[in-house]
Each structure stands twice: as structure tokens, then as C-alpha cells.
Amino acid sequence: MTMLKTETVTVNLGPQHPSTHGVFRMIVTLDGETIVDLEPVVGYLHRNHEKIGEKNNWIQNTPFTDRLDYISPMSNEFAYVLAVEKLAGIEPPERAKYIRIIMVELNRIINHMVAVGFLLNELGCFFTPMFYALRWREFLMDLYEMTAGSRMMPNYFWIGGVAADLPEGFLPECKELVAALPGFIDEYERLITDNEILQMRCRDVGILPPDVAVAYGCTGPLLRASGVPYDVRKAEPYSIYDRFDFDIVAGTVGDVLDRYLVRIAEMRQSVKIVEQALRDLPGGETATPKKKTFRPAEGDVYHRIEAPKGELGFYLVSDGSVNPYRYKIRSPSFVNLQALPYMCKGHKIADAVIILGSIDITLGEVDR
């Protein structure tokens, strides 16, 4: 039997494509339906965030970081204010530290709800599972709205603390919600995890071996699903993470299904952390006294946190003026996205969409 001679075809997916989470283009070379090569093209949302950050003063940059990864604004602010506090040697009050932990861990749950909800969407299971997740996300967003006045652009973290104390009614509502969350996750898992279609479409798709994940510098759930139990919260504990009891969740195979399961398990761990933080929340001040102009001493500093999508780092250089001399963001989505071609090669074109979804990127952060 002679093989039929075929040619490869190059197809453009995007920049406007319903499954690309923003404006993102993939140039895919196909042999039949199999992906031979894939080249991601980014930059459509580029606005030179870092240059604008140099024109802003130090304080103006805090709300500006909300616009990076708009799914998890609190985490972005957390990374930035911690970097500035390290640079200026500011120690926030204890109560503020606990409030921050509550906010960023709720943020991790919010982010993972979006990630697992939309993953199902990309599998062709339109909207029902997504709205299951988004409904609960809205409850958490209500807590944000209550404290900061905005669901998605809170501007709640300030250098040296938080903008205001928790409003009346926050604690009972938050406790009630956190107590109900494991039930929701169980329900979601009953609905989705054992679903045969999910298992068949996600098992052994987009495998990323641990050594390759490390070589690409992948972080976050993407890395941990590959079986590398690395979490900045444990490896280099920042803020007060060393006071909480939680586990690092890791996968075994490193495929799309593992990434989904790691996110589900991380939601449970975050619930645990929030419960502990609510239990131990001390009274007192929520911010250090504010100054009209803020000028940190000269120097450079790098601070990284475990954001929901991976390692988010800020590299700041101060020349002693009111503006940062350099304001650089090491965003997890940008670095994780490099592994996409490796994961997609050899799979069918329909799988490229779920593999992309399983990395969990936000283009606002990739393109900056």
C-alpha cells in the first residue's frame, strides 16, 4: 500500500476567536487535523503598561495593577504593594495582613472558578457548567463590592495596609459563604469531574513532563499538575503565609485533566486558609499613617508571590523620586504561554483550544 501524499496547511486561529480569552492569535500548521507546529502571536492588547507605570507615581500604580490580570485584581495589588513595602521598609499592621490574606485567597477561588468553568465551555459543554461556577463567583465578588466598592477593580490594597477596614456585615457573610463553598465544590465535582466526555477529552491531552515544565519556567497550577510540588507560598513564604496550615496540591500526569483537578483541589485549600484567617483575625489598625508624597529610598527590589495563575513578580527600581524609575512585571501568563507549542504538537486542532484554556491565561497580563 502506498501512502497518499499530503501537504500541510497553515491556519490562523484568532486574533478574534471565541475561545482565545481575549485577543490572541495562533498560527497552526496542520497535517490533516493533527497539529505539526503552532506559533502563538501576542501583543494585541499591548499598551506599554510598564512605561505608563514609570509616569505614574508609586501610589497611582496600585489601582493600575488591577488592569493586568483582571480576573484576580487583588493578587496583582498584593504583589505590587509587597514589593513597594520591601523597597521602602514599611510594615503593615497585623489586621491588614490578615485582611489581605482573606482577599487574595478568595481571589484564588474566584480565578479557579473562572478557569474550570470556561474549560468546560471550551470542551463544547456550553454555559451550564460555566454559570454554575460563575454564580458562586458572583457571591464572592459581592464581598469585594462590599469592601472596596467595585467587583473587578477594587483598589483596596494600599502601600502600608488596606484602604479601609472591613465593612459591617462582612465577617458573618464571609463566614457563611466560606462554610458553604466546600459544598458547592462537591456539587460541581459530582456534576463535572466524573463526566465521561470530560475524562475522554482531557486525559492524556497536552501532557507537559516535569522537566520540560521546569525548563520553560512554568509556574502555578500548570507546573504543579506536572508533578512538581512548588509553591512560592511554601518555598519562600511572604507576608504571613507561614502561619497557615495548607497543603500543596500536585498532579501526576501533567495533562489537561490534572490541571483541572489541581485547580479544584486548590480551591479547597484556599477555603482552609480563609477559614483560618477569619478565625485568627486580630483587631486594631488597618493601615500605617498615610503620607501625602511617597518617596522610597534609592534601590532596586524584586518581589514575587504565588498568584492564582503562577508566579507574579514585580521588579522595581527607585531613584528616590515620586515615580518609579523602572516598573517591571513578571507575569505568569506570559511565561506559561511559551509551553503552548510543546503541549499542542501531535494533538488534534480541536485540542489546541482546551490546552490553551488549561494554561489559564489572561491577555491583559500577557500583553501588558
Binding site: 499591548h46 506599554n48 510598564e50 519556567g217 518555598a235 513578580g313 521588579y315 524609575y325 504561554l337 511559551q338
Partner: protein, 152 residues
């Protein structure tokens, strides 16, 4: 291991390299560009710094500085920070993509926005700005005059 100990160990291992210890909030090691790849190879293979977290650059008045933040998956604790200076006129630094594959896009970004050329990079093209764009926006002299602002 503190940054000072790492520096002492490297200085002992590579006496022929001109290494310098940079004090600061995050102490760093100043490396000559010519020695960077060999030093990086040593750090990855012998000292397990297999994760290059961040590559970035700063435009100082008299030189460019490329900054590398290296961590290890196996060791806990702070980073090893390498700094390399590049000329203002013709900034060039060797690429470390052969050592940390994840450096690829980050070096492209530095080239794109700051205009520092990475010798030996497999595909040094613009990544955030579009092909055909002229100039490097993160440099302090960009845009030169107010008339050059693209968007008001």
C-alpha cells in the same frame, strides 16, 4: 545560602572572571557579558538553579543593565541575582536560551522594548510591538519630543 556566600563560592570557582558583589536590598552579582553563559551553565548544572524567573533590563543614564533572577525548585530561599551591563551605543548581551528555555520570550521582550540585542537567540523578533515598528519604547529617550507621542 546567602547572596554573599554564593558570590564567594563563584569568585573562588571562577577567579578569571571579573565578578563584583553589588550591595542593596537584594544583593546581586555583577557579571561581565562574556562570562555570562559559562557562569549560567555552572549555576544550572552544579548548583541547581534551574529556574530563571525573570529577565529584565533597566535604562540607566550611562549604561543598560540586564537583570536575571534565578531560583531553584529544590532549594528554598532567595534568588541569585545576576546583573550584566551593556553599552549605550551598541547594547549586546549573550543569550541564555540554551540554558533556560523559558528565557526565550523574556529576552525577546527586552529586545523589543529596550533594544538590547541577545547574541545567539534562536528567534530574536519583536513579541509585543508589531513587526516593522521602529524604536524601543521603554528607553528613557523614547519618545524624544512631545510631537512624537503617538496617541495625544
Amino acid at each position: 545560602m546567602t547572596a554573599k556566600e554564593t558570590f564567594d563560592r563563584l569568585a573562588e570557582k571562577f577567579p578569571q572572571f571579573e565578578l563584583a558583589y553589588v550591595e542593596g536590598k537584594d544583593p546581586a552579582i555583577l557579571v561581565q557579558g562574556d562570562n555570562l553563559v559559562e557562569l549560567a551553565q555552572h549555576l544550572r548544572d552544579e548548583q541547581e538553579y534551574d529556574y530563571c524567573s525573570s529577565i529584565t533590563s533597566v535604562d540607566y543614564p550611562d549604561h543598560f543593565e540586564v537583570v536575571y533572577h534565578l531560583y531553584s525548585w529544590k532549594k528554598e530561599g532567595g534568588p541569585v541575582i545576576l546583573k550584566v551591563h551593556a553599552d549605550r551605543e551598541d547594547p549586546k548581551v549573550p543569550s541564555v536560551v540554551s540554558i533556560w528555555r523559558g528565557a526565550d520570550w523574556q529576552e525577546r521582550e527586552v529586545w523589543d522594548l529596550m533594544g538590547i540585542h541577545f547574541d545567539g537567540h534562536p528567534n530574536l523578533t519583536r513579541v509585543l510591538m508589531w513587526e516593522g515598528f521602529e524604536g524601543h519604547p521603554l528607553r528613557k529617550d523614547f519618545p524624544g519630543t512631545e510631537d512624537e507621542y503617538a496617541f495625544g
